[in-house]
């Protein structure tokens, strides 16, 4: 009697199984403490701001040079300074680079790669788990912050709600784009975390103040094109340079560019995971 033909699992099915497995691991691990710290700090700060303004301790929030103390503007400030410039890139670096590196470090990559599923599906499944885990934690914190900060200074919630929806979408797009880039970095480079940190906090920050085309080689440039809030500025030379050298990119171009970045790096990451030989440390 001939042996039954082995059941083949499609790429999508395999990715889904890895996703199911990884999501629980990502949400219930010690690193969730880091994630919780990163997303809860803005909420705590929002609470402090609410208390400060309640006691009349507020100064000159300046957006585009004009002083404002309205809640929606302060909320926009939080989105710019804490979420877009810090939380989204840092979560992308941390989770993106560790998708495969964690398994290599724990010497469990063998168990995943010896399954009868495409190697690329392992990475895509883990990437989707990262995306869901971070979105599930980051977006509620933004919602909380919104309801804490927007009513400050007589700000109304209803008229600014569409801008919140845009912000939530923007953060999701940012997490997806940074995640795919750093997933590729994690699969391709020997020191992925250092490379990722240098890109996010060195290259992206430095290049944004240089006029010209170089800033198109960053993700932040395209994300800034989608932000519904005005860019905050202070008296520092860096802030002035950022405003002077800022050239706006239209929302459709930003969206298309981010989609291209996301897809390109996700494919490259899946290819790199499929082709690279991982040597486990003895």
């Amino acid at each position: 009697m001939p042996a039954p033909a082995p059941r083949t699992v499609s790429f999508a099915q395999a990715a889904r199984r890895v996703f199911d497995l990884s999501l629980g691991q990502m949400l219930w691990s010690r690193r969730t403490i880091f994630l919780a710290l990163v997303v809860s700090a803005p909420v705590v700060l929002g609470l402090v701001v609410r208390l400060m303004t309640a006691f009349g301790i507020h100064g000159s929030v300046r957006i585009g040079g004009a002083a404002v103390i309205s809640g929606p503007s302060i909320f926009g400030l939080f989105i710019w300074l804490l979420y877009l410039r810090f939380t989204v890139p840092v979560l992308g670096v941390f989770y993106g680079t560790s998708l495969i590196a964690d398994e290599v470090e724990d010497k469990t990559i063998t168990y995943l790669f010896t399954r009868p599923i495409p190697r690329g599906a392992v990475l895509v499944g883990k990437y989707l788990a990262y995306l869901v885990a971070t979105v599930l934690v980051v977006l509620p914190s933004v919602m909380l912050l919104y309801f804490l900060v927007v009513p400050v200074g007589g700000g109304a919630i209803a008229p600014t709600f569409p801008s919140l929806v845009k912000d939530l979408g923007l953060l999701g797009i940012g997490l997806a784009a940074y995640g795919s880039l750093f997933a590729w970095v994690g699969c391709r480079f020997k020191y992925p975390l250092v490379t990722g940190l240098v890109f996010a906090f060195g290259w992206e920050q430095a290049i944004m103040i240089i006029p010209g085309y170089l800033k198109r080689l960053t993700i932040a440039y395209y994300i800034q094109g989608l932000v519904p809030h005005a860019m905050p500025m202070d008296d520092s030379a860096l802030s002035i340079l950022q405003v002077v050298s800022r050239d706006s990119v239209s929302a459709p171009i930003s969206l298309i560019s981010l989609a291209v970045i996301w897809l390109t790096f996700l494919i490259l990451a899946a290819r790199a995971a499929g082709r690279r030989e991982y040597v486990l440390e003895q």
């Binding site: 010690r30 690193r31 880091f34 710290l37 990163v38 700090a41 700060l45 701001v49 400060m52 303004t53 301790i57 507020h58 100064g59 000159s60 929030v61 300046r62 302060i74 400030l77 939080f78 300074l81 804490l82 410039r85 810090f86 840092v90 670096v93 941390f94 680079t97 560790s98 590196a101 470090e105 020997k190 020191y191 975390l193 250092v194 940190l197 240098v198 906090f201 060195g202 905050p232 202070d234």
Partner: protein, 279 residues
């Protein structure tokens, strides 16, 4: 067939004086890191600002009409500020795994079963990171000072800015101590170097981002003490006698730095132990 004596034999090698064991850890750690070619590349990159500074000093010494390039204390302060980025990268690269990797490999017990105290272990690890950090901060800054004297052919600049040598030394040491103690404390709290690196990056950049938000809301720079780099900047401005960028009292910034170092030492004292009690 010869029969070898496999029983206990006394150590016949050279015995080091007590208190020198940290040198072994430091030497091996430094040599291990220097074997990485990419890291050598980073060190070379970190010396590019020195080369630029040296050229500036040369031009200034030979063509005094370029007043824009005149050497001042502000330039030395600026040079050390430029090195902040390299200090961050080297701290993350070298420091993140210093204790975490030993904990992951259960090597801490092995280390501490040798004639090596916990203090010597920590000093050895600190020495590894400090050596590389001083290599990109104190060493090039002092060399720039020496080049200034050499190219100008007089000690007049040094006489006019006699505080520069101690200022460069104190600020570099402060920079190194804050970075090294913080990352070592974080490294002792985890078994994953990558987790440590991201925690350090978080502490560094997030504290500054939080300060940015507070500044924007209150319009006051008096809250710069919440930012780790902000505290270093404030104390650095005082040390170099340049205009302060924050209205925070320098004593508060210094206190914040001392608290960070003290907490790091406390964490190291709690976490670097030969025996781990698991509840």
């Amino acid at each position: 067939m010869p029969i070898h004596d496999q029983s206990y034999r006394r150590y016949t090698g050279r015995r080091e004086e007590p208190g020198k064991a940290w040198l072994v850890i430091a030497r091996n750690g430094i040599l291990t890191i220097l074997r990485k070619r990419l890291f050598i590349g980073l060190l070379i990159l970190a010396w590019i600002p020195f080369v630029v500074g040296a050229v500036t000093i040369y031009i200034n010494a030979n063509y005094p009409q370029f007043t824009l390039l005149a050497m001042t204390a502000q330039r030395f302060r600026g040079f050390l500020s430029q090195q902040d980025f390299f200090v961050f990268v080297i701290t993350v690269w070298v420091g993140a795994g210093l204790i975490a990797n030993d904990k992951r490999a259960n090597a801490l017990q092995l280390y501490l079963s040798k004639p090596l105290t916990r203090l010597e272990y920590v000093i050895g690890k600190l020495a590894i990171l400090s050596a590389f950090l001083l290599m990109v901060t104190w060493v090039p800054a002092i060399l720039l000072l020496a080049l200034q004297v050499a190219f100008s052919g007089s000690f007049s600049f040094l006489r006019q800015n006699v505080y520069l040598f101690p200022a460069v030394t104190v600020y570099s040491c402060l920079q190194v101590m804050v970075s090294a103690f913080t990352i070592l404390a974080l490294s002792s709290m985890s078994k994953s170097g990558r987790y440590v690196a991201i925690l350090f990056a978080g502490a560094w950049f997030f504290s500054h981002a939080v300060y940015g938000v507070i500044y924007a809301v209150t319009g006051s720079t008096g809250f710069s003490w919440v930012s780790l780099p902000g505290n270093l900047n404030e104390v650095g401005d005082i040390i170099f006698h340049v205009q302060h960028r924050y209205s925070t009292s320098p004593a508060v910034s210094l206190l914040a730095i001392v608290v960070v170092i003290a907490v790091s030492i406390w964490v190291l004292n709690r976490r670097v132990r030969g025996v781990e009690v698991v509840q």
